[in-house]
Amino acid sequence: MGRVVLVTGASRHLGGLMVRALARDPGVARVIGVDVVPPQRPLPGAEFIRADIRNPVIGKVLRSADVDTVVHMGVIATPMQAGGRTAMKEINVIGTMQLLAACQKAPSVTRVIVKSSSSVYGAGPRDPALFTEDMSPQHPPTSGWAKDSVEVEGYVRGFARRRPDVSVAILRLANVIGPRVETAMTEYFTLPVVPTVLGYDARLQFVHEDDAISALHRATSSGISGVFNIAGEGIIALSQAVRRTGRPSVPVPGALLGIVGRGIAPTRLVDFSREQVRFLTYGRGIDTSRATRDLGFTARRSTAVAFDEFLGGYDLSPALAESVISGVTSAARMLTTRGGSRA
């Protein structure tokens, strides 16, 4: 008798990948995807229910299908995806509350996995180089997605206290990147001109979309409880990342980054909220040794490799820059060696 898994946020890219990965898993009998919008791509081998997790129908689904595992991926990152900040907070925080309330009432549920974000650690000058799961943030997030993630984790902890028989895993993912996923960060790096913060160079960490799914899948099949940081090995400097895209960057004072960014891309889902500007100023790193040790998960792609695969998927490369440089450097080299031999 295989497991019955319910996945929230199934219509978005990562949720869809997760549903498809679970549908291929021989240990899983049924996969039920839930979202408010229809899936972008078909979900072979899975069922789909179009419902809002704030709706009591979720409780009925949990009971009637005898769901034993709930994977909550329904927290959304940018207001534009939700149609405004108020709606976004409603979906993220109230949605999680309702979902967990339904789980609490469903005796069949034995395992809950929550996709959270490393943004719960905030970002600032007093941060250690890498956060471990036990460290408290030095600059707690005060707004946006990061604040939502903190609140979501709070509700999940409350649920874990009230249902000690359920194993609960929270995965704090670094920024997810890859050839297909669309996030505020992929939008940022595909801007025609990338605005950066003058006088600062953030340390960035990415996790490849496929590695993110492997981590969630791993957490779903193991019964381990706890909080786990998930990221690709190593970091990449923001300036370095922009150079790899081959796009020009324009450093602007942090206070003006939002205005400039929205001027460059008024319609994109790129995020220049206060919290995101802090992140683009100071950056952040997370220590993934607990996931390696306890969850048995290590990302296959490093931060730099994940970023390069993102560039490949979006057809970005410093090709133009490279040809210009090779021209200039070989000419310069010829001149200097000739000058050297003459002297």
Partner: protein, 293 residues
């Protein structure tokens, strides 16, 4: 990832690359920078940038201007972690950069010094950015331990702003040594503590006054007045050409002291012992130094 010791530190290696032709390596450097083809470690340290762009312009300052004499460099191990604890002075923290230069240029293994700095550094535009790339990170227990357990040489100036910002009249008098955090970090990582004395940095910008209302207004620890600053404007930023000695002292081995980690008294006593050794070395070196300039 403290237990995963196989972290590739950087593919360039800690050895400076053999230089067949300085020009070709320069163009290779330019190419790497424009393409973003270099490695920045977890702390934001950019070895490529440090070796090829940040240190070279400071080398004449080290060799010709301050004529730094390096002593006891062989007391720094060629591999594995070590904690260099030194006195801090000079109004601007030139002493840390010169210690970094001493270790990179004069140590047979050309080691990079990883320095611990105050949070103010990382909150200051440009300064924080360059400091991180040059190998500084925040002076906090997690970072110190992580660096030491990865086998890095870590430099710490426990006097902090009290040290660099003290008036010229108090030169070579060690200030309070923080809370002994550096000793705990070394004990936990079981690495030697190398008490290091720096002579000469006190005289580069002799601080004869402090415009403290302005400092409060700007949120700075102090706004210095020296014989040349602010009177000569930007020219006042030229350091006086004092003669320097950097002496790496006899290491304090910590392998047998691991039991003392949870004993605050033992930690404070060791902190005092290290401080006292640096103070004694300073007095001895001052006598030996023939002239200030």
């Amino acid at each position: 990832m403290p237990d995963a010791r196989v972290i590739p530190l950087d593919p360039e290696g800690h050895q400076p690359t053999a230089t067949p032709s300085p020009r070709s390596t320069f163009w290779d450097f330019v190419r790497r920078r424009i393409m973003g083809n270099y490695v920045v470690d977890d702390f934001g340290f950019d070895a490529d940038l440090t070796e090829h762009l940040l240190l070279p312009p400071l080398r004449p300052l080290f060799e010709r201007w301050f004529r730094v004499e390096v002593r006891g460099i062989d007391r720094v191990p060629s591999e594995g972690g070590a904690l260099i604890v030194a006195n801090h002075s000079g109004t601007i923290a030139v002493d840390s950069v010169m210690t970094q230069m001493a270790l990179f240029d004069h140590h047979p293994a050309h080691r990079h010094l990883r320095m611990l700095g105050a949070d103010l550094v990382f909150d200051t535009p440009f300064v924080g950015e360059v400091a991180r790339k040059a190998g500084h990170t925040l002076a906090c227990m997690p970072d110190a331990q992580r660096l030491l357990s990865r086998g890095e040489v870590v430099g710490v100036w426990p006097e902090g702003f009290k040290g660099i910002g003290k008036p010229f009249s108090e030169r070579y008098k060690l200030q309070r040594f923080g809370r002994g955090g550096f000793v705990s970090a070394a004990l936990r990582a079981r690495v030697p503590i190398i008490p290091t004395a720096i002579v000469g940095a006190e005289e580069i910008y002799p601080m004869i006054g402090n415009i403290s209302p302005l400092a409060r207004l700007l949120g700075l620890p102090y706004v210095p007045v020296t014989p040349t600053f602010p009177w000569l404007g930007p020219l006042g930023l030229i350091p006086l050409p004092s003669r320097w000695i950097i002496e790496f002292g006899e290491p304090v081995h910590t392998e047998d002291l691991v039991g003392d980690i949870d004993d605050p008294m033992a930690v404070l006593e060791l902190t005092d012992a290290v401080r006292e050794r640096i103070q004694q070395s300073l007095y001895r070196l001052l006598v030996q130094r023939e002239s200030t300039f």
